[in-house]
């Protein structure tokens, strides 16, 4: 498929293939390099609409880099991402993003509701005052993750799991069609994991598309229907049933997973 589509920009008279124009997120030939060592190499990814896809792979496989490149946070050396068939820069309003918790300073002077309101920044623009309805929407998003009662807390006073939920609330406030999440379950308590997965399943029920970097192989088949295995290169992509196989895991993780472990994971899936 990649050979058929060296460029994402349609030349005059050229058709963009359906897979790209219909997918909430289509990445083609994306390479990101820090220095002269590609962190990800020539990645193709096509997210299925209305489904949850887990990006999995070992540490340093380029999972977060792939997400950041898809979002334009890091500049790819080659390749591009299309969102619902159009370039990313035209589709910002349809994308919500939840970064890793460790990526910000939690001592920053801001409160829980202020962070949720940041999800409305496109709507508020530079000067529009924050009105009661904006606050109500931010509170509703906080409520969905069970954080409404903490609205006026300084964010540094929250536990790790609560911080993660506030980040999810901010993404919810963006009211998007495509949700890109970077390790939403990393280092959270069981209650938070439950709360987050419930919200993600609601999103899927609403027909939204979720793509999440995920590190916990034991929950992949329970939480997600699609997987994307990466180790700098694309290893496999597709439904859990066909892509989350012992062979592919072995290929992605190399010697890092014991054979018994892999067997257990693959057998354990529903």
């Amino acid at each position: 498929m990649k050979d058929a589509m060296p460029e994402l920009v349609a030349e005059a008279g050229q058709q963009i293939p359906d897979a790209v124009s219909h997918s909430p997120l289509a990445i083609r030939g994306m390479t990101v390099s820090y220095g002269e060592e590609p962190a990800i190499f020539s990645i193709d990814l096509t997210a299925e609409p209305g489904a949850m896809t887990a990006i999995i792979g070992p540490n340093g496989a380029g999972k977060s880099t792939l997400l950041k490149a898809a979002l334009g946070i890091v500049r790819p050396l080659s390749g591009a991402a299309m969102v619902f068939g159009k370039p990313l820069s035209k589709q910002r309003a349809h994308i919500a993003y939840m970064p890793q918790r460790a990526s910000v300073d939690w001592d920053f002077p801001t409160t829980v509701i202020d962070v949720a309101l940041m999800g409305l920044s496109r709507e508020l623009g530079l000067l529009r005052p924050v009105r009661a309805r904006h606050k109500a929407r931010a509170l509703a998003c906080l409520d969905r993750v069970g954080m409404a009662e903490f609205a006026d807390r300084q964010i540094g006073q929250l536990s790790g799991g609560q911080q993660q939920r506030v980040f999810l609330a901010r993404a919810l406030a963006q009211d998007a069609e495509l949700y890109l999440l970077d390790e939403p379950f990393a280092g959270v308590d069981a209650a938070t994991e439950r709360a987050i997965i419930d919200v993600l399943k609601q999103l899927r029920a609403e027909g939204k598309t979720v793509v999440a970097v995920h590190h916990d192989l034991s929950t992949v088949s329970e939480y997600f229907e699609n997987v994307f295995l990466i180790n700098r290169r694309r290893i496999a992509e597709g439904p859990v049933g066909t892509a989350f196989t012992a062979e592919n895991l072995q290929e992605a993780y190399g010697g890092r997973l014991a054979a018994g472990q892999i067997e257990q994971l693959v057998l354990g899936r529903a």
């Binding site: 950041k68 979002l71 334009g72 946070i73 820069s89 910002r92 994308i95 993003y97 970064p99 990526s103 910000v104 300073d105 920053f108 002077p109 801001t110 409160t111 202020d114 962070v115 940041m118 920044s121 496109r122 508020l124 623009g125 530079l126 000067l127 300084q154 901010r170 963006q174 308590d189 069981a190």
Partner: protein, 401 residues
Amino acid sequence: MLLDALLLQLGYNATLVALGAASLGVAAGATGTFLFLRKRSLVSDAISHATLPGIGLAFIVMVALGGDGRWLPGLLAGSALSALAGLVCVNWLTRNTRLAEDAAIGAVLSVFFGAGIVILTIIQTLSSGRQAGLESFLLGSTAGMLFSDALTLAIGGALVLALALVLRRPMIQVAFDPGFAETTGISVSRTDFLTMTLVMAITVVGLKIVGLIMIVALLIIPAVTARFWSNRAEHVVALAGLFGGLAGYVGAAISATAPALPTGPIIVLIGFALFAASLLVAPGRGVLAAAWRYRRFQQRLHLRQGLISLAQGQPVYERLTRRLLRREGYLRADNVITDEGRARAATVLRDEARWQAVRRSDSLALLAQQDDGMTDIASVLTSDQLAEIDARIGGPKAVTP
């Protein structure tokens, strides 16, 4: 005398200086906050030091063109251009070499400042006796400030302040979470550049009063002072403007009370006084509040440990613990447990037993992670879960001494 100065009764010049310094202080405090929140405070130091060669070069150019070398707008334009050059150097070095930003700042700051001093020295020699007076830009000078100077400060300050308020949301977003900001369509690099431009403008405007060495204090100290008083970025910005304006106004007034007092340094010292006071007395983040909280926690901890010891019939050795137990009425003066102490110890013992049951329970074991000895179990378990646990371990047992 000081009161006269604060009430603007010390004459025309002093009034001009006080009002000019106040408006500079407000604008610098508010603008500097965005730099502080972005954790790039030191960049302002590089920017301010990089103004110096521009001042000297502008002087030379204006003299060469047959004009007055000391024409203020010309000098300020020159300083802005070389500050921009310094900023570009810092950004370029950070982005394209392996130098970290602090190293890039150090390099740019010293090189530009050194070049500036050399140029000023050359001017000194060339003007052969005719005083150029450019040194006043190092430490600032308010002697003989004109109405037009004060007006420049007020208008420049107001303009920068207005721009900062318009750009506050993207600047705060970028400072908090640049990655997220980028995905919402805010350009991080453009926002950073605008922030730096505002800082540069303030630096140039402030050269006349506080000088290039101390402008950094006016940008940063109000911001860190304000941080003690608020946990919301927009409030920190407003408070920093207030503190900056206060420092500028009071500092200028004080320096007007005696002829030999330099305005810029006094403003900086007033700013520092506000900072020191906030550091001490601010609720929440202040040193005293933190010490008080620590003491309270220590007391709660000792009480709890003491009660556990009493409940288990062990002697309490620590004097602080005994004193606290006596103060609460759990121990008599002769260190014998009271009825109240017995009752309290029984509930503490029950909570300990509850935690143990939680640790051993299959379904609740995860919650036991929250047991740090001090967390109230009722805040972790629901009342249903508590009832279930209590049914398992039975009610509180009496404590016998």
